[in-house]
Symmetry: C2
């Protein structure tokens, strides 16, 4: 029964993508402060003023102005001439594209995503784990008349519900799962499971089946299935989901599409492992 | 004839989005160095090693390692566990989405872009000026059987050719145009105009017409028309283009779609000015 299930490996701990914790003294506090400024600017819906940001970060306006001026100079923030408010610079759009092109998951999955969207007419999403959440990094829309708009590229979702997010969680290592389940979990819909024991049972079911089933637990009226993608060294790169509105997903179609997705994701993972071992030779 | 032409206003000088040049001593050199590291990481197709980056930036590996460790900690870079190579972090995908949502051009243009793609079946692009180039920040695909793949979200194009890029150039202020035309210009196709005098004539034609026409001067077989969008205070926010393969664009259709685009862009600009003056009141 478990033959088609991919192996479970670490996706890295939340809040840290590197190999080991780095002591604070080995990090540049100025750069960290600049990233906090970026984060504060990104949080303001209509842009933020210098005073807003300095207050949010509890730094002097002098320090904050120097960092904002530098980020403006580097085009990572833009200052609206009429209001003086800062917002993130459009240069991030370019950097995001480069991040996508450099990541082993994006280029390798795009053909499969288009194929699945043509087969199912539904929305195909690609998600990766990022700071303990699922980050949507690619999206292909099928031709179904109703399209799920909730997961756009760049949006963040919790890991304990949905198709791709839950697949990421279920196929992570146990330490990561323990960490996620130790946090307070919230209900995205009335049907979201937030009890850690019940989530562990869903994880076991998902591992046995080889794919996740998210039945109205992330967005109402929406059903999705998700399967993980593994790269070099069995490292989990992320997960793909196929989903649409509930009337399109009776129990039979859920299992059919889930199995199709699981097998396609497993074939892709195998080709990535092979590609990486060939690179090791060459 | 000029009544439908939008006003010409500054889009800001290349390499500087703020109001005035900031003296170097008022900028954080550490943050600037960290941004250079990001830039170097983004340039490496298959990821970059610490040594590559230190050499490219002419800094010690100690300094470089400290900056990379900080950027890794902040999830702006990711280190591939099997090769030790650094690539941009997928967190940029999230930041790009926030940058798009904060920019006044993105939210206001999306309805118009969908409308134009349904009317024309062609590809609609939204571009903004960034570091003296056109940066594609949004894209809506129509249902034409052949789709121009050259301009994806996040790609950069020169300003002296194409539909939206040339519209940005043509409706910029004269100082900006002088600066762009003082640089060495390259041919994107055999039909690209690179002679500054001829480009100035095309700019005059574009201003008089109210929209640009790019006829196989950016991509072979591709024709596009472009029109600028202006926001609060007449500040140019960027430009929209409609384009497709040459056989779909005879002279009559070019002028029809160009006029439709120009008028729609002018109406959108007027509504943005009105919205901003209402905000000023409230």
């Amino acid at each position: 029964m478990n033959e088609t299930s991919p192996p479970r490996r670490s996706v890295g701990r939340p809040r840290k993508s590197g190999d080991a914790a780095v002591p604070d003294r080995d990090l540049s506090q100025t750069v960290r402060k600049a990233v906090s400024v970026l984060q504060a600017v990104s949080a303001g819906e209509g842009g933020s003023t210098l005073t807003d940001i300095a207050r949010a970060l509890d730094v002097s306006t002098t320090v904050c102005h120097r960092l904002l001026a530098t980020l403006d100079h580097e085009q990572l923030v833009e200052r609206e001439p009429s209001t003086g408010r800062y917002r993130l610079g459009m240069r991030f759009v370019e950097l995001a594209r480069r991040a996508q092109r450099q990541h082993p998951i994006s280029l390798s999955t795009i053909n499969l995503m288009h194929q699945l969207s043509q087969e199912t007419d539904d929305v195909i999403l690609l998600m990766v784990e990022n700071r303990g959440e699922a980050l949507c990094v690619d999206r292909v829309e099928g031709r179904a008349p109703v399209i799920v708009a909730g997961s756009q590229i760049g949006s963040r979702l919790p890991l304990h519900c949905g198709g791709a997010p839950f697949a990421i969680l279920a196929f992570s290592d146990d330490a990561f799962i323990d960490e996620v389940l130790s946090r307070p979990l919230t209900k995205a819909t009335p049907r979201t499971t937030i009890d850690p024991t019940a989530i562990r049972q869903r994880i076991a079911d998902t591992r046995a089946r080889g794919f996740s089933i998210g039945d109205e637990d992330l967005f109402e009226y929406v059903v999705a299935v998700g399967a993980p993608i593994f790269g070099a060294g069995g490292h989990m790169l992320g997960a793909i989901s196929v989903g649409g509105i509930k009337p399109r997903y009776d129990a039979t179609r859920v299992l059919e599409i889930g199995a199709r997705l699981r097998d396609a994701a497993a074939a892709l993972s195998a080709s990535l492992r092979e590609k990486s071992s060939l690179e090791g030779v060459g």
